[in-house]
């Protein structure tokens, strides 16, 4: 009798479980696209970063990263939304499974291509996403799965062991490539970019970045967060912006760094 009960109970539970899961899948496909990266954090990060606005997964938003984070403190990524064809308000990048998810928010402007390369920290294998808000009020979401051994956000910066940065903080090395009309800027800024997640090392990171033209107008405006790597290297592509440019940065301690490129 007891055995029979167990069997029935088991069958009932299995049936209930299958109904439940079937029901859930049905509901999800009916109302929204399933996350192609199957992240447990997608529902949460979507709410945090996109709120209640309309959104869609869009292959035109390309996030490039190596398949494996060889150095979890320096993972190269490129976010490229050029396939959307302009009319972009802002771009938000984040890593779902980082303790600090937000990487940057970027307002590209009309004289810069919607493509940026930089290096980031990851704490474990994670989806890396970019959401692009077009002027029609829709978020276009792209992303890539990055494998990692882990530890990028809770490792002390190398600057912590080497006082080099103290006497070189905010130093900028830069170079302009390509033609005057279609030029690319690459620059590196000396900064420890401490996350605040390491014992007794407070967060200390570059918070704002602007690339300005000779008239002082901002071509690139970017808000940065601690997952951006130490001594960050950025790559931006300008279109139809000639003449001298200036780079301006400010960190969360209020230090400002400025250089004519």
């Amino acid at each position: 009798m007891a055995k029979w009960m167990t069997g029935t109970l088991l069958a009932a539970m299995l049936l209930a479980a299958s109904l439940l899961s079937g029901g859930a899948v049905g509901a999800a496909t009916a109302t929204e696209q399933a996350d192609p990266l199957q992240s447990p954090m997608w529902g949460y990060t979507r709410q945090i970063f996109l709120g209640q606005m309309p959104w869609q997964f869009d292959a035109r938003v390309k996030v490039s990263a190596p398949p494996f984070a060889e150095d979890p403190t320096q993972v190269p990524i490129t976010v490229d939304a050029s396939a959307l064809g302009g009319e972009i308000d802002k771009v938000i990048a984040w890593a779902d499974l980082n303790p600090i998810q937000h990487i940057f928010t970027w307002f590209p402007g009309d004289k810069v291509k919607p493509r940026v390369s930089l290096r980031i920290k990851v704490q474990q294998a994670t989806p890396v996403r970019a959401a692009v808000l077009t002027r029609d009020g829709v978020w276009h979401v792209g992303g890539v799965q990055l494998e990692a051994a882990g530890g990028g956000c809770t490792a002390p910066s190398t600057g912590n062991a080497d006082p080099y940065w103290e006497s070189h903080l905010g130093e900028i090395a830069s170079r302009r490539f390509g033609s005057e009309q279609n030029s690319r800027y690459r620059f590196k800024v000396i900064h420890p970019m401490d996350t605040g997640l390491v014992n007794n090392i407070p967060e200390f990171f570059l918070e704002q970045l602007e690339l300005r033209d000779s008239a002082g107008a901002a071509l690139v405006k970017m808000q940065l967060y601690p997952p951006v790597s130490e001594n960050p290297v950025f790559t931006f592509d300008l279109s139809n912006s000639t003449g001298q440019h200036q780079l301006w940065l400010r960190d969360n301690s209020g230090n400002e760094f400025e250089q004519t490129l």
């Binding site: 069997g7 150095d71 490129t78 490539f177 690459r186 620059f187």
Partner: protein, 314 residues
């Protein structure tokens, strides 16, 4: 009701059988099945798979070797785990009754020294720089290996080399060994030439048909200079750290070709202002595309080395 019960019973039994089968399969899987291959008089090599570390291969991606003399056995590298070290020792015992007297660690990478525990009763030698690097980084390497290959690593711990190798030659029985100290691959790389047989154990200074790795190279220029030195060594056979054994200069030619290409490619990319992800997408020339893991190792090398080229171009 009865049929229901018997079905449940069948399912239970099938599950049990399946787990028993998988248990015995795993027990078999932890056997590295090392098969020493004789490549010259008194000289054996155990060639690893041309793969990356995995739970399938247990970390056996490395070439180790040993030479049997009348006064004992010399072992060159101990493999990726305690299990491997023990298996290597068992394989040697099947070939000779001679005791193992000298063991060499070519450099501080985990697949070359984590078998040391099985040789703790012998004398383990390594270049002074290698001993320091194992002391500093060995534990982290071992942890990472547990993550990569799992239970194959059971009971593996860091056994430091016993003595810093400072001698240039060693005579043992009828064999005379000459040691070369280089830095190109890891910062401290030991090569051993058996002058008696002409076999050069080239360690990871030479990879062949398996892409080279660059996490600790002091620079591609340094490695290229070392390659010129290796080509002057009068060897008749070369045992690379990874990949097949060669009787000619094919392995070093491939190394020099790839190192030069890598250096030029990084320099050009930095001059053109490529980002890391763009550089990683660069197509590899046909002659390297057939080298195992060339795509993956190229991407790793970009992370290891490209920042230096970027700095030079700014």
């Amino acid at each position: 009701m009865l049929s229901y019960k018997s079905r449940a019973w069948t399912v239970l039994m099938a599950g049990l059988m399946a787990s028993l089968v998988s248990l015995s399969a795993q027990a078999q899987a932890f056997d590295y099945q090392l098969a020493p291959q004789q490549i010259a008089p008194d000289t054996w090599v155990l060639q690893g798979k041309m793969q990356d570390f995995s739970r399938r291969n247990g970390g056996n991606i490395v070439n180790t070797g040993f030479v049997v003399t009348e006064q004992g056995v010399v072992v060159f590298d101990t493999g990726p785990s305690h299990r491997y070290g023990k298996a290597l020792r068992t394989a040697i015992a099947k070939i000779t009754d001679q005791p193992i007297v000298h063991v060499l660690n070519s450099h501080h990478h985990p697949d070359h020294f984590l078998g040391n525990q099985a040789f703790a009763d012998t004398t383990i030698w390594a270049l002074p720089g290698t001993g320091q690097k194992i002391a500093q980084q060995g534990g982290a390497f071992a942890d990472n290996m547990y993550r990569l290959v799992g239970d194959w690593m059971r009971d593996t711990d860091v056994q430091l080399p016993h003595k810093p190798l400072e001698m240039e030659t060693l005579a043992l029985g009828s064999h005379r060994f000459r040691f070369y100290s280089m830095t190109g691959h890891s910062g401290a790389d030991l090569l051993m030439l058996d002058e008696t047989t002409g076999v050069l154990f080239a360690s990871d200074m030479v990879f062949y048909q398996r892409a080279l790795t660059t996490p600790h190279t002091p620079g591609l220029d340094v490695w290229q200079q070392d390659m010129a030195r290796i080509d002057e060594i009068p060897y008749r056979q070369l045992v690379p750290g990874h990949g097949p054994i060669v009787q000619d200069r094919a392995a070093t030619a491939q190394m020099r070709d790839y190192l030069a290409w890598l250096d030029t490619t990084f320099k050009n990319a930095a001059e053109q202002g490529l980002s890391m992800t763009e550089l990683m997408a660069t197509p590899l020339p046909e002659r390297f595309a057939t080298v195992r893991l060339s795509r993956a190792e190229f991407a790793r090398s970009v992370v290891h080395l490209y920042p230096r080229y970027e700095d030079a171009a700014f």
